[in-house]
Each structure stands twice: as structure tokens, then as C-alpha cells.
């Protein structure tokens, strides 16, 4: 890699690191795991930078991150997610939905990485199902089933959330 390529790579990393770190943080739920995921994806992108610099390096890097996260789950590597809050029932409080958000955050972190990745792509990145399937390298049916399972799992983890919203 010559100086020009390296300068462009450094510029790209410096400019896109905050956004990519947010995605990595959503995928992993932990700061250190997010850094590890981002660096791992970046390490896979650097050798291909010469061919990617004129196309879409960010899309490639995001795809590597998504697949790397799912791959980690498949290979049953050590779980990098941190311990979460207790499983006690959520009690309403007058703080304007903070309890609901906290409960949902804890429930999101308890999802398997594959399901959480689908949720991040569908509800945070706002990608259509076809695009999610393309990014993850699976079928649309797989995306739909994973989304359905993730939402169902969240409802199981938060049985009182909708009730709490209705009360308000």
C-alpha cells in the first residue's frame, strides 16, 4: 500500500469510525467487544483497500462487521456480552418511559447475536428485508424468521411492556 492509499484509508477510518462504532456497539452491546469487532472488520478490509477504495469501502466494512458478529456466534466463541440486569418484573415509574427503555435495552442484549443483528439492520439501519438478506448472505425467509423470533423473544422477555404503555 503506497502513501496515497494509506492516506485515503486513514481519512476514511477517521471520518467513519464514530458511525461504525455505533453499529458495532449495537451489535455487541459492550464497548470492548465493539472495539474488537470494529478492529477485526477493519483488519479484513485493509488488505482489500486497493480494490475497495474506488467502490464502497464502508458498505464492505459494515458487511464484514455484520457477518463477523454472526460468525462469532456460530463458532461459539466466548461470549463478549456483559452481564445484564436482573430478570425481575418491570415496575412502572413516573420518569417518562425510562423503565421501559431500560428493560428493552436489557432484553435486546439478551438476544442471540444473529437475531440482534437482524433487528439492528431492520430497525436501526432501516434496511429492507431483501437488503438485509443480501448483507447477511442469507435468504429473505431467513431474515423474516429471525426477525419474527427476535420480536417474539423480546415480547417474552418484556411481558409487561405493552401493558405499561397502555397504562400511560
Amino acid at each position: 500500500m503506497d502513501e496515497d492509499d494509506r492516506a485515503r484509508l486513514a481519512e476514511f477510518v477517521a471520518g467513519r469510525t464514530p458511525a461504525l462504532m455505533r453499529v458495532a456497539y449495537l451489535l455487541t452491546g459492550d464497548r470492548h467487544a465493539a472495539e474488537d469487532l470494529f478492529q477485526s472488520a477493519l483488519a479484513k478490509t485493509i488488505p482489500k483497500w486497493r480494490t475497495l477504495r474506488h467502490t464502497d469501502p464502508e458498505g464492505y466494512l459494515r458487511t464484514v462487521m455484520y457477518r463477523e458478529q454472526v460468525s462469532w456466534w456460530r463458532r461459539l466463541r466466548r461470549r463478549r456480552e456483559t452481564a445484564l440486569t436482573g430478570d425481575g418484573p418491570i415496575q412502572p415509574d413516573p420518569s417518562g418511559g425510562t423503565d421501559v427503555r431500560l428493560a428493552m435495552r436489557a432484553a435486546l442484549r439478551r438476544l442471540p447475536p444473529a437475531q440482534r443483528t437482524v433487528l439492528v439492520l431492520r430497525y436501526y439501519e432501516d434496511l429492507p428485508e431483501a437488503r438485509v438478506a443480501e448483507v447477511l448472505g442469507c435468504t429473505i425467509g431467513t431474515v423474516r424468521s429471525r426477525t419474527h423470533r427476535a420480536v417474539t423473544r423480546l415480547r417474552q422477555l418484556l411481558p409487561d411492556v405493552e401493558l405499561l404503555e397502555v397504562r400511560r
Binding site: 469510525t17 464514530p18 455505533r22 478492529q39 420480536v151 404503555e165
Partner: protein
């Protein structure tokens, strides 16, 4: 259609994303990972190649060896092939007590028949027993040089053709 539950998921994910910690330079550790990965790949490739060579070499050497004895080195004196020089229609002359070996006495060129012709390519040095009837076998005409009755010395007169032939 977006349900309130999905809206809650979106809002929570957005909140979580805003809490992502700011990080410093990520390029340097990523490049270090690239170097480490390349080094690991090279080391594993070399180890795999060495292991393959170590495993395959004994098999390759063993496959070149056979249990059968090695073929003998060609002797200076030619050994005639009985199946080639033997004529089934030939019958020993009553005046001859033995049939001398055909090629050795008169042959001056190793590997040639007495009349100078080369043996047939299909000739086999070990005659098949089922091809030669025992009645036609002539043990006295053994071509082995160790036989005392067959002397390969030049003093033996050249074979005389049988009058019947």
C-alpha cells in the same frame, strides 16, 4: 405497518447507539492485526507443508520398495530362452544322447539365436509348464551352465541338425 412495540425497539436502539463510546485511532491496532494475521498464516502454511512432507515421505519410500527380490544383473554369458529355442516338433536324434544347448556354443553375439536371429519379443525366460508337454521336455538339454552335461565351452561341437529336420 409499524407497531408500538417496533417503535419502542427503534427508540431503544437509537438510544443505545448514542451511548457508543468515542474511540481513538483504530487504524493502528487494525494494521497490527493484519500483520499478525499474515504472520500466523505464513507460519501455519509452513507448518502444514512440513507436516505433509513428513507424513508423505515414508509412504513414498515404502511404495517404491517391493518384497520380491530385485532382478539379477545381466550376466556376461547369455542365457537362452528355452521357450524360444525349443522347437516342439523337433525330436532328438537316436544317435544323440543329449541335445546340446543351442545358442551358447555357436552364438557369438549375446542374446541371439544360433542362426543369428533375435529372439521373439514374447519370449519368456521361464517356460510355462502347461505349454510344454512333459514328453517333449528334454532335461538333458538344460541351458543352465551348471549342468555337467551341457558344456558351454567352445570345445563342444556346434549342434548338428537332426536328419529328420
Amino acid at each position: 405497518m409499524t407497531t408500538p412495540f417496533e417503535n419502542l425497539i427503534r427508540a431503544t436502539l437509537s438510544d443505545l447507539a448514542e451511548e457508543a463510546p468515542p474511540v481513538q485511532d483504530q487504524l493502528t491496532p487494525a494494521e497490527r492485526r493484519v500483520r499478525n494475521r499474515r504472520r500466523t498464516t505464513m507460519a501455519l502454511s509452513a507448518a502444514g507443508t512440513i507436516a505433509a512432507v513428513l507424513v508423505a515421505t515414508p509412504f513414498a519410500i515404502a511404495s517404491t520398495r517391493t518384497d520380491a527380490p530385485r532382478p539379477a544383473a545381466p550376466s556376461a554369458r547369455p542365457t537362452p530362452s528355452p521357450s524360444v529355442s525349443f522347437d516342439p516338433s523337433a525330436r532328438p536324434s537316436p544317435r544323440e544322447s543329449f541335445r546340446p544347448p543351442v545358442p551358447i556354443a555357436s552364438s557369438t553375439v549375446p542374446g541371439r539365436l544360433p542362426d543369428g536371429r533375435l529372439p521373439m519379443p514374447a519370449a519368456s525366460p521361464s517356460p510355462a509348464p502347461e505349454q510344454v508337454s512333459p514328453g517333449l521336455r528334454m532335461p538333458a538339454a538344460s541351458p543352465r551352465p551348471s549342468s555337467p552335461r551341457v558344456s558351454p565351452s567352445p570345445s563342444v561341437p556346434p549342434p548338428q541338425p537332426s536328419p529328420e529336420r
